[in-house]
């Protein structure tokens, strides 16, 4: 299987590559439009700051390429947030794939949310063979609210979308590559998707 990780200078991609390796899959880093378009699966990672990440995407024209992809695409963390309509981080417009805006946590809880939290109300093959309430590891200060594209939610002061899906596009706020067996199962489920 040809799995491409979108390379736009985002942080810690090694962990994701190692997680795929543990599943017997090589994740190829690429910023080339054709290589991304021809992949069986595309993973859009992201650790860092939204506005500078979007600038880098635009430099390589990937902001136009990504929303038109037809194969299964998985955005992770900032990758997922950039697939939304807008994020408050750096007042940055998103790719507009998921119909929801990203806001900063605004309550008495500590920011960033850092650690393992429960994934609830799952409704997608992405969560096949996972416990009803599995724990996933997240680190983030911004969140996407609940919307029609929500396929799983988590509570941190409020309920937010920890996973989104629209057509062939999937996004998760947590880091499956760092979420032990549950995360590995989710990655494996993504790799098994056919559309």
């Amino acid at each position: 299987m040809n799995v491409v990780l979108v390379n736009y200078g985002a942080g810690n991609i090694k962990s994701l590559q190692f997680a795929l390796e543990r599943l017997g899959v090589t994740g190829i880093l690429s910023s080339a439009a054709t290589e991304i378009q021809e992949a069986d699966k595309v993973i859009f990672p992201g650790v860092g700051e939204a506005s500078s990440a979007l600038s880098k995407l635009k430099e390589s024209g990937l902001d136009v390429v990504l929303p038109k992809l037809k194969q299964p695409v998985l955005g992770i963390c900032l990758g997922m947030q950039l697939m939304c309509t807008h994020t408050e981080e750096g007042n940055t417009p998103g790719l507009g794939i998921f119909d929801v805006a990203v806001k900063r946590f605004d309550n008495d809880l500590k920011v960033p949310q850092m650690g393992w939290n429960t994934v609830l109300e799952t409704k997608s093959p992405l969560f096949d063979n996972l416990d009803a309430e599995s724990y996933m590891y997240s680190v983030h200060s911004y969140y996407a609210g609940l919307c029609k594209d929500t396929i799983a939610q988590t509570n941190y002061g409020i309920a937010y979308s920890c996973a989104l899906q629209k057509d062939n596009f999937y996004g998760v706020q947590f880091h499956p590559e760092k979420s032990s067996k549950a995360g590995s199962q989710l990655l494996s489920n993504f790799l098994a998707l056919t559309t």
């Binding site: 962990s15 650790v47 700051e49 500590k110 960033p112 650690g115 590891y137």
Partner: protein, 251 residues
Amino acid sequence: MLTKRIIPCLDIKDGRTVKGVNFVNLRDAGDPVELARQYAKQNADELVFLDISATEQKRKTLADLVRKVAQAIDIPFTVGGGISSVEDVAILLQNGADKVSINSAAVKRPELINDLAAQFGSQCIVVAMDAKQIDKQWKVHLVGGKIPTEIDLFDWAKEVADRGAGEILFTSMDHDGTKAGFANQALARISEEVNIPIIASGGAGNTQHFVDAFTQGKADAALAASIFHFGEVDLPDLKQKLKQQQIAVRI
């Protein structure tokens, strides 16, 4: 619900674990990778690797180790010890570390925190602080706690949060090694004054100490080394007991 994190800490010298480790079923207790794998299997929530070697080869050995650990385990880990520049951090993150921990370098040059947060994001910048009470005032200490400063612990905690630290790792030198419990009053006060997660360190001896750190100390995570390495506290057993006491943990 966000769970409280339990974090075993491994001291590393020249690529090997330093303190004696007494783990059954471990072929090589001096191998940090194997030890890390064992803790991950036991549902540790994160790991911290503290490099205490001081050789010229250090940076390369550490980077190699970080890469091997990242390949082997699927939980987050933090690397600390002698990190003093943006370049140091870049190498560790590129090799698969999730977070880095800075300590003395941040005290000497606080702008380093701003630089690192801007470059890599707050989420991967942990500021470690060692402190002890001198005339009932908590004072920050440097170089593994050897050199006292005039810096007030709580002022420093606020400053590092303002500068963009994503997390604070607070070690009470008054409690470290005593196995008599964490510095819960100081922990609670840090939690009241800053709005980023706090890792409690120093003093863990039994299960109740962890309960107290989370309830009285309001800590978000608790770190310990020898009690886990020597099997005095069994990690899965600890988590079960925390759960029985209504503390949210990942089982």
